[in-house]
Symmetry: none
């Protein structure tokens, strides 16, 4: 089925994961698949589609792009959907009150294509039809993608948002392809941390903060503060080695190695 | 109706005429109106819509963009629809065997915006859903606009083609300068931390790490590790408020250590 795969996506194109988070109507998932394939993108991921999966209405709307749907991967949570990715963008209609870089689809495509060509895995989150991504989803991303629309009439439907991002991705990829051969930045610093490693660290940090009573007198602010703390670390674009260091830092500060160090201390003392 | 006109289109934006030639479904005309207004365009012209005009299904689909429909002008032929225009583009899915310049939406927008700003009137033709523009329509245009899509799956629906062209038009207009309503990045997150505050935090962190014995078995690596830790936090481009949060985080984590192990530390020290 080489011919099929040929059509299913442009194998010459660096591929990002297009991640639809809690989409509602199957028709819109199908339309998003068409929009992706229009620009040669084939890697779709779905987080908890409201009406279940697979979806007949998605397939009917996708028409000849049904191969994108057949290859789509299904996840229960956004964390799981991005676990193997190195760099995640969140598409939002309006700016959020989060200290994250806000980029245009064009900027995201330029950077994203560069990252994929350098060997990283990139994903772009799109929210459901009604309310878009929630703040917890956005917190998982390194940057927010915002379309420069008419401020008085800015809401795009899901497939249109996917269309614009896919369109810019294709143009950026074609431009990068022409530009010359791979410019793989010498990664002296080692590989960028995958989302799963970041999540593990941030979960560990919040557990330690809970244990330390950090939220003791501000329990109502816990979700916001955790989101802000996550955002800071995401923004730093950490390497694997750096996340390991941060694990050590938190472990050390919180005396998590109490057993080891206690014993040693005991030996010394004794 | 100044307020209405405000929303109806971005009056600061140089406006091209978006001309739908023999569109079929009212829904698609409504969706095209939405796509236009998403990027601030308001001048729609219709050539012989199949199902007559006005159209209830167009209005229903347009929703809040119905003002674009109300201002739409109706013509019987493409010649009449473009009679007052200086420069006309024809949007096609594939190249035609016609000796006309073929440009991308981006190139068309760049040139088109320039022409409108120079006082010309510009129009962009879009064909009907089934077969697009016929050769006689294309012959009326000075140039052909062709979207750089996946050659194996290139057909865009009418509203999507209008969306991409309108999107590029807006970006070109904003880049050209005069139309900017660019959202000034709202610094909800507060001011960026000054270097002195960063230094204070990083000094505090390294003192706490020393106290926790973080460098105990790796004393020779201390300078390098501290440099790396500093680099991570600097890279995150932290806000003042965020640095205060981090102070709290470190204080809380290490206070936890002191709290549970304080007695032991005291014994050691004594």
């Amino acid at each position: 089925m080489a011919g099929t795969d040929r059509r299913f996506r442009d194998s010459a194109l660096p591929q990002p994961a297009i991640i639809l988070v809690r989409p509602q109507m199957g028709e819109n998932i199908g339309a998003a698949a068409r929009a992706m394939l229009n620009f040669g993108l084939g890697e779709m991921r779905l987080v908890a589609p409201r009406d279940g999966w697979p979806s007949e209405s998605a397939r009917a709307m996708a028409s000849r792009a049904d191969e994108v749907l057949e290859h789509a991967r299904l996840f229960e949570t956004t964390e799981e959907a991005i676990a193997d990715l190195h760099h995640v963008y969140a598409t939002t209609a309006r700016g959020r009150e989060m200290a994250k870089p806000v980029v245009t689809p064009r900027e995201a495509a330029d950077t994203g294509v560069g990252r994929v060509r350098a060997g990283e895995r990139v994903g772009i989150l799109f929210g459901g039809e009604r309310a878009g991504l929630d703040n917890d989803d956005v917190a998982l991303a390194r940057a927010v993608v915002q379309v420069t629309a008419n401020p008085a009439f800015s809401s795009l439907n899901l497939a249109q948002a996917v269309l614009l991002v896919s369109y810019e991705w294709r143009l950026a990829a074609l431009a990068a392809g022409k530009a010359t051969t791979m410019p793989p930045a010498p990664e002296e610093a080692g590989p960028v941390a995958e989302a799963a490693q970041m999540t593990a660290f941030l979960d560990f940090l919040s557990a330690e903060l809970d244990a330390a009573g950090f939220f003791h007198r501000i329990a109502d602010k816990r979700p916001t503060m955790l989101r802000n703390i996550r955002a800071m670390f995401h923004r730093a674009d950490l390497r694997e080695q750096e996340v390991r260091t941060l694990f050590g830092v938190v472990r050390s500060l919180s005396g998590h190695r109490q057993g080891t160090r206690g014993a040693k201390g005991g030996e010394k003392g004794g």
